[in-house]
């Protein structure tokens, strides 16, 4: 009996010590329902492996959610079960997740927000953001420059959300200052099949199109398929966005139909995880706001953005 007690005690102390030695970082991201989020998932797993190997005191827990409310539940589990010291979150939607993240922060957890910001300022310690307006602006600038300020274009939008609106507004700001006419805009839901069907109908409707802004690479793939079917690939070019590896490859190979791409890297989750880890393993200052650019990817620089192992 005394011996048993002693063993239990030793185990308990060991477990406690082990627990204290560890820093637990929780990573909450949307489930891989389309290409871009698939990339986010891949980069998260990749970075987890690298960080844990590099820093043995770090433990990283990744949880994926199918909806905003599911993500809010995940936060509770990360706190209650994994007792996280830091949270890296790519919020599904800004508004519904603001309060749940705030309450995580209130418990003294270090919070890093990725991509879309929260609805209230001052909650997060670190914000790593993509630049949605820049994606729209860069795309618009390329198209207007390439067309020499005039011509007909069509636009395929994503899913009606803040992200889509920011991109399209910035894009239109550029286009409105030119003589380029936007023939029509339709939602293609960041989906290949919808991109294909919407583009088919655009081709039926408009005899002359000079350029297509597909905004996203999944949509762009559907668009390209529709162009090939109609045999109108020589008539126009397609600008996608996000940096899907297949599209980067086409840019690298100098494809006339896909001359450029605009980056919106899913790897931003990796950036955020690295910065968060630094806060715990070093004493370098990390607090603040990091905005990743949406650079134009051209045949010249495409090789820098090509990650053949990533699913995206």
């Amino acid at each position: 009996m005394p011996r048993l007690t002693r063993i239990v005690l030793v185990l308990f102390v060991l477990a406690l010590g082990f627990g204290f030695a560890q820093t637990v970082i929780g990573v909450s991201i949307p489930a891989a329902t389309h290409g871009w989020t698939g990339g986010v998932n891949w980069w998260a797993a990749e970075t987890k492996a690298r960080l844990e190997a590099a820093y043995p005191t770090l433990q990283i827990v990744i949880s994926t959610a199918g909806s905003a409310s599911e993500q809010a539940n995940d936060l509770e589990d990360l706190i209650a079960i994994h007792q996280i010291d830091a949270l890296v979150i790519l919020p599904f939607e800004s508004d519904p997740l603001t309060e749940p993240v705030a309450s995580v922060k209130d418990r003294g957890v270090f919070v890093t927000v990725v991509d879309r910001g929260l609805a209230r300022e001052g909650i997060e310690d670190v914000h790593v953001a993509g630049n949605n307006p820049a994606l729209g602006r860069v795309s618009g600038e390329y198209i207007s420059e390439r067309l020499g300020g005039e011509g007909n274009i069509v636009v395929l939008r994503g899913i009606p959300t803040v992200i889509d609106n920011e991109r399209v507004e910035a894009f239109m700001e550029v286009i409105d200052q030119t003589n380029i006419e936007v023939l029509d805009m339709r939602y293609a839901n960041w989906n290949r099949d919808d991109g294909f069907e919407v583009m088919q109908d655009f081709l039926t409707r408009f005899p002359e199109i000079d350029a297509v802004w597909a905004q996203d690479d999944d949509i762009a793939i559907g668009v390209i398929e529709a162009l090939e079917q109609a045999g109108r690939t020589d008539e126009m070019f397609v600008v996608g966005g996000a940096g899907m590896k297949e599209m980067i490859l086409r840019v690298m190979e100098g494809d006339e139909l896909v001359p450029v791409n605009v980056l919106y890297p899913p790897a931003m989750i990796a950036t955020a995880m690295e910065i968060t880890a630094l806060n715990f393993v070093t004493s370098v200052p990390v607090l603040g706001r990091y905005i990743l650019d949406s650079p134009l990817i051209t045949p010249e620089n495409a090789a820098d953005y090509y990650f053949p192992d990533s699913p995206f």
């Binding site: 891989a32 290409g35 698939g38 029509d184 069907e197 039926t204 409707r205 793939i221």
Partner: protein, 335 residues
Amino acid sequence: MARSEAAPAPTWRRHMRSIPWQSLTPLLGLVFLLIIGSLLHPAFLTPTNLLNVLTRSAFIGIIAVGGTFVIIAGGIDLSVGSMAAFLAGAMILVMNALARNDLEPLTIILLGVGMVLVAGLLAGAANGLAITRGRIEAFIVTLGTLGIFRSLVTYLADGGTISLDFAIRGVYRPVYFGSFLGIPYPVWVFAAVAIIGAIVLHRTRFGRYVRAIGSNQEVARYASVRVERIRTLTFVIQGVCVAIAVILYVPRLGSASGSTGILWELEAIAAVIIGGTALKGGSGHIWGTVVGAIMLSFIGNVLNLTTAISEYLNGAVQGLIIIGAVFLQRGRSGR
């Protein structure tokens, strides 16, 4: 004299009355849409546009033919969209693996097609057996498999997209984009599936049993019909139909991902119901389903061809047309 003049009218009227008007309403809805479409845009009635839309409707249409069997027998299958995504992903992976073995592209495609048909059959059988043997409601079983197939394809794709080997794509591509006598292959396949489906449903013992089970399972059982076997078979047919749709779908974009086939199940069910099949089972026709599927595709097409309706309201217009089509039908047959 007045009588002799009046005589032809009743015959004519009797003739009119013998036309099954209420089963024609899906067709009337389609004609209505075609008229609207041609008024909206001159390019609407061009062969290219019409064939585009018909070809698009083939996926949902073929799946809905299978769905007609399931629904008439009193079941429901919510898993078809996920199943399509899963089968497409599995088919591409198998063909890519075979491509590494120095096989002829044509052989690879044939093997892929054979594999996907078998897989569709098995997936349908799994649904059917869980429902009949496991005695679980079809709604629950297929809601479960909806999630299972969807996450399986995401898993196979590592969260990304599964893309078909380029060497195979070149050979396979014409299956979607090619045509025979000016009609694209998917339309031919859709027609063939619909005709075979109609014959099986309306002219065979199996089809009669399906309808009997849907109207009253107990009566069928007491009349020594193998109720469970027939119900399972309806799900097998559904699985095979999904597989056929996948065979046509893969060459279109040469890829599959977690977002492939999202909400196809609802579109397929809508096509079946617009076509005049009762959601509670017992009665229905294949040709109504065909019209329903084509109609759904035309709604999307008409909306894409006009700027008259804000793109924000697409869903609302779609919903109204679907409800309207079914209302017309019920309104007439209710009397």
